[in-house]
């Protein structure tokens, strides 16, 4: 399909609550393809959410298998339609960046382990237990579906938000 342009904050489309997907039709399948193409084209990205390419539907893709931090513990390429986090456990702080918020990174504390339910790209209902970096990535992408950016999760501008130094 196509590599799509990533919307940048403060585009208002990044702040909206997305609609649930009602039917897995060609439009949604095309959206999934675009999300995967966009994520893999970025090279360093481990996830993209539909609102980042301007679509207000609850669809994200996550793949941490090629990242140093996630390659030992992951579920490969995850297509998540209408994802819901059922359980959380523990906490983990990572310095997060986001393609939609270039130039800044911030310390964000999220659950270390999650149980997440979703419909996959083939229309099958699945429940996955994720941990570590993969769990962080899934939570970051699901936040996008509710109009939340990592900047909404940092607790202190002084100690938690940093101008990106290596670009």
């Amino acid at each position: 399909m196509a590599v799509r342009e990533i919307l940048l904050y403060p585009d208002p489309r990044l702040k909206q609550v997305c609609r649930s997907v009602e039917r897995l039709d060609d439009e949604v399948r095309g959206l999934v393809r675009d999300l995967l193409d966009t994520m893999y084209d970025a090279g360093h990205s481990v996830g993209v959410a539909a609102p980042q390419i301007g679509v207000d539907l609850r669809v994200v893709v996550v793949d941490v298998s090629h990242s140093k931090l996630g390659r030992d513990d992951n579920h490969g390429c995850l297509v998540m339609i209408n994802p819901v986090i059922l359980e959380t456990e523990g906490s983990k702080t990572m310095r997060e960046g986001c393609m939609s918020v270039p130039d800044y990174t911030g310390n964000v504390t999220r659950a270390e382990k999650i149980l997440v339910q979703f419909t996959d790209g083939g229309g099958t209902d699945r429940v996955v237990r994720a941990r570590g970096f993969e769990a962080v990535a899934i939570q970051h992408e699901i936040d996008h579906l509710d109009g939340l950016l990592f900047l909404d999760r940092v607790s202190s501008l002084k100690t938690d938000v940093f101008r990106r130094k290596n670009r």
């Binding site: 931090l69 997060e96 960046g97 992408e141």
Partner: protein, 179 residues
């Protein structure tokens, strides 16, 4: 656009930020960057400000004289063009935290080890915690390592400091992740 470094410090009380920003607003100044905090009972404001017309500090100083009358100390410096921009820093980021009984020289010793190796401190905070009888000194700093120094090597360097000063030092790598 010319930029100026403005520092204002005085005994903490409500309303300082409001007074300072009221003056800046009426002058037509823009706040480009700022960091304000309470340091040992003093409210310290550090700001990088800019003005579309004024290019010399002397033109601005008079605006701040009401603050001096309110027991706030004001320092203003004109920045050379480009001096307001953060320098481009290459290399891995790391966080060094130091905990120990309060004693003179902790910051100096750690900073000297870093400075001698060209390790750039980009952020530094210190605090006294614990009780009045047994104060604990805490320092946290963020630094960029030059390419030839690894986080593991810095950890080895800090092991000596740990021993010499009798403090806890931890070094950890900060890997910003793109999600």
């Amino acid at each position: 656009m010319h930029h100026f470094a403005l520092t204002i410090i005085g005994r903490d009380r409500p309303g300082i930020v409001s007074r300072v920003t009221e003056i800046l607003y009426h002058m037509g100044c823009n706040i480009a960057d700022s960091s304000c905090s309470i340091l040992g009972g003093q409210f310290a404001m550090q700001l990088i400000i800019s003005h579309p017309e004024y290019d010399r500090g002397e033109q601005l100083r008079g605006f701040f004289s009401p603050l001096e009358e309110e027991n706030l100390s004001v320092f203003l410096r004109t920045l050379r063009p480009g001096g307001e921009k953060r320098s481009e820093l290459k290399g891995d980021l790391c966080m060094v935290s130091v905990y120990g009984s309060d004693r003179p020289g902790i910051v100096y010793r750690v900073a000297r080890e870093l400075g001698e190796r060209g390790i750039n401190i980009t952020d530094l905070n210190t605090k006294l915690i614990g009780s009045e009888q047994r104060p604990v000194y805490v320092m946290m700093l963020e630094a960029t390592l030059p390419p030839e120094i690894s986080v593991e090597e810095l950890d080895r360097i800090m092991a000596r400091v740990r021993e010499d000063l009798g403090v806890d030092v931890s070094v950890r790598s900060i890997n910003p992740v793109e999600l």
